[in-house]
Amino acid sequence: MSRIGVFVCHCGENIGRTVDAAEVARASGNLPGVAHATDYKYMCSDPGQALIKQAVAEKKLDGVVVAACSPHMHEKTFRRATAGAGVNPFLCEMANIREHCSWIHENRPAATAKAIDITRSIVEKLKRNAPLEPIRIPVERRALVIGGGIAGIQAALDIADGGREVVLVEKGPSIGGHMSQLSETFPTLDCSQCILTPRMVEVYQHPRIKLLAYSEVEAVEGYIGNFNVTIRRKARGLDETKCNGCGQCQASCPQKKIPSEFDAGLGKRTAIYVPFPQAVPNIPVIDSGHCARWKGIVKGLKKFACGKCIEACGRGAITFDLEDKIVTEKVGAVVVATGFQLYEIGRDHEADGLKGYGEYGYGRIPDVIDGLQFERLASASGPTAGKLQRPSDGKEPRTIVFLQCVGSRDPAKGIEYCSKICCMYVAKHTMLYRHKVHDGRAVVFYMDIRAGGKGYEEFVRRAIEEDGAEYVRGRVSRLERDGDVVRVQGFDTLSGEPVTIDADLVVLATAMRSQPGIEALAQKLSVSYDRHGFINEAHPKLRPVETNTAGIYVAGACQAPRDIPDSVAMASAAASKVLGLFSNAELEREPNVARVDEATCAGCFHCRRVCAYGAVERKEIRDKKGNLVKVVASVNRGVCQGCGTCQATCPGKSVELEGFTDPQIYAAINAFQG
């Protein structure tokens, strides 16, 4: 390359204040191979870009160096301008004389000299650049959504309505997630099931959604546009195609005392069960831990204890086929929407270093329940059919105390983050309670009230001012059972006095945590997660629904504590990202990926072991007769993220990163000597 143009930017005062851009241009103009050098106030502006295009045309330049800001900022801009001038965009390089120079120095002559050095270094690098072409990858225009809660449902519906097929995988027997357990929702108090169940049915009936309930993602291979997903379809013990959801089997099951997960342990279910009447799909599962016949089969017994459900089933659907099935699906994008779990504060979470809150007696005192249990008590579909009855004796509670921030915002014993939804749902609980028990007392202990959101503050004010919830600022030190009541000993930090309340029921607003097992799933997907197990977004502000792995998106409470409106918004955002990806049959990617020199590769595969993206594969080299000559490493250009770890690891330097090859880097370093 012999005709390079150097374009030095002042970036207004950003560079111009400490670096003499005109001097950088003058000095660069004298470098061997540089045919043109100039400076301009704002190189990224339209006239600045026009300057580049004009110079390329007039001076017949074959390479462009823009001495300006970080490539992160404007490399794309200038490469586009270079391409517009008819030169391969990868023959445009940026010399960073802003972040690396003008912003961090004060001495103008010294900074100018350094800017000249940086520019010379990049000119030398550019001389060894090769024209590159974007990588084109075919896209399988079909999406996988993991998790059938409201976020997963919304994402699946949006993608399917956008015309693309969706595979929706749900771990539990039914979709619906936590939202299906709620009674009413803030801030409008509309019935949760009334707005959710039509969506669930829509998923079930959608011609482009393949619902795989009671299934788990076993393995994910491949890369953006081309994922191969292995899914374990857990054995329900019956033939889904024959079952019509009549419910006879449930009615016949003699095991009727199993705590219902759906009713948060407050209701009972059978061993063959549909979690709730509106479940989608409306097909029962057999609980292998409780069904006598299942346990007998596993033990290898010849005679089985029970077969009541088989007799009851009019369609012969109950097969007791205990084998899980493995299915594979090819998809181009994945939306992770696995949701959350509540912090089980009665328990010591040794693995997580969480101690629990023994002083609140959760699990020991029957009338101390968590927020989700209160939802079930208040719900018309709940174990009490919506009548507020406390668990111990079924009496209607006259006084309920609500404790906020149990486990949240507590670095000492719980989790330091705010669970975000509790302020709102506690306000909602007080309203629901007061609407049902008009003369009851609802007392809330809070740290402060966080009600940011449309209509949220008004909602909390309404609970306090119209519905008479008593808010006490302070924490509760202890809950004790005293005869019929739960004695609440707290401290009102506004009046500075201790408070003791005898409550009939205490509701703990426990922290939201990530789902158990999310780390294992994240590792299968090669996405990163924080130390609380929440999936990391690619950028907290600008790429909130993307992950660090291309083609994998995130929605809902698996990313951070989220309420329903947030989860739905994220789900729709993720769906629009997926539909954007699917808008073309092919995907274009930057060609800055690794390349193996097969002639010198020794096949030690250190590169394969260090690759965080699984991009390095084994490749057999054979002669014309088909004899194996050697096995070498080979980079899958679709998967490679261009991080360069393999390049750094290879002892024989047989891996190069396109655009950052050894000769380029060596030349750039060497240029500093002269």
Binding site: S528, A599, T600, C601, A602, G603, C604, F605, H606, R608, R609, V610, C611, A612, K630, V631, T645, T649, P651, G652, K653, S654, D662, P663, I665, Y666, A667
Partner: protein, 291 residues
């Protein structure tokens, strides 16, 4: 010794292997022996002069041994670690080689040394030997000899001395040592784990390591070699023995091995399934070196 000769003759006669690599009496002490004819098996010896790590001949970069098919190689317990290194790095299929493990009670520093082992003449790597019984071999031969004479490791002591020096003094020491290097590449050729198809030092575009033997280039070469062998070096000491300039290369290897053990909890092992740190990536790897 008879047991080794008989087994070699049998393996060759049965055509189980095409070549047996062992040791023989040369004009100047013990030396590597290559026996392809069962009649020549009587040449093979094993005694405390057999210092050579013959696993170096198993590297795929030895094309002249390729034509013999399966190879049997005599290994001391410590040599098995080099074989494991080659298997770990896909340079050798374990089933392509027959390992004739010889029970060993320590060797001399040089194959030309003779006489019974004493605390004085024992090779430094044999101090505190834990592998007199060779592990993971197809055949294990000989009587289990007594443990080598006990004494303190000389190199460990030397490393402690160097560690105690300040940076300038330590640099001066290595400058003086490495200035003698003539870049003959004997250290590379003899190393059982130097398996690159084309060595970085032989590449000219870019010339990362200059080929002329001046001190700066010698530093570049030996620093690169040390880093490439970090967590891979099996401490056989062959590089130092082969060095015509008498540079204490094993000090570098030992020092780096100690750092690798401290940082990554990894020690050179005869288990090829244990990944070496250079090819092991974990999300929770320490990052305190990033500042």
């Amino acid at each position: 010794m008879k047991e080794l000769q008989d087994l070699a003759a049998k393996l060759l006669a049965e055509k189980t292997v095409g070549l047996v690599i062992g040791w023989e009496q040369g004009p100047r002490g013990a030396r590597p022996a290559f026996v392809a004819d069962p009649k020549d098996a009587g040449r093979l010896i094993f005694d405390n002069r057999c210092v050579h790590n013959l696993a170096a001949y198993l590297s795929p970069r030895r094309p002249h041994l390729r034509g013999f098919g399966r190879i049997a190689v005599a290994v001391k317990g410590c040599d098995v670690r080099a074989v494991a290194g080659l298997v770990r790095e896909s340079q050798l299929k374990r089933e392509d080689v027959v390992l004739l493990g010889v029970r060993c009670g320590g060797v001399h520093d040089e194959p030309t040394d003779a006489g019974p082992l004493t605390a004085e003449n024992l090779a430094d790597r044999c101090v505190g030997c834990e592998v007199r019984e060779p592990p993971r071999c197809d055949h294990v031969l000989g009587e289990l000899p007594p443990a080598p004479p006990s004494r303190d490791g000389r190199r460990a002591g030397r490393i402690a001395e160097l560690d105690a020096l300040d940076h300038a003094a330590r640099f001066a020491f290595w400058r003086q040592e490495l200035s003698r290097c003539v870049r003959c590449n004997a250290c590379r050729q003899v190393c059982p784990l130097c398996t690159c198809e084309r060595c970085l030092a032989d590449k000219t575009d870019p010339p990362w390591i200059e080929s002329s033997p001046h001190t700066r280039a010698n530093f570049a070469w030996h620093a690169t070699r040390a880093l490439h062998l970090a967590g891979r070096c099996v401490d056989c000491g062959e590089c130092e023995r082969a060095c015509p300039a008498g540079i204490p290369l094993n000090l570098i290897g030992r020092k780096v091995a100690a750092v690798v053990e401290r940082r990554f909890g990894y020690r050179t092992t005869d288990d090829p399934q244990v990944p070496a740190p250079i090819g092991a990536w974990k999300p929770d790897d320490g990052q305190e070196f990033i500042r």
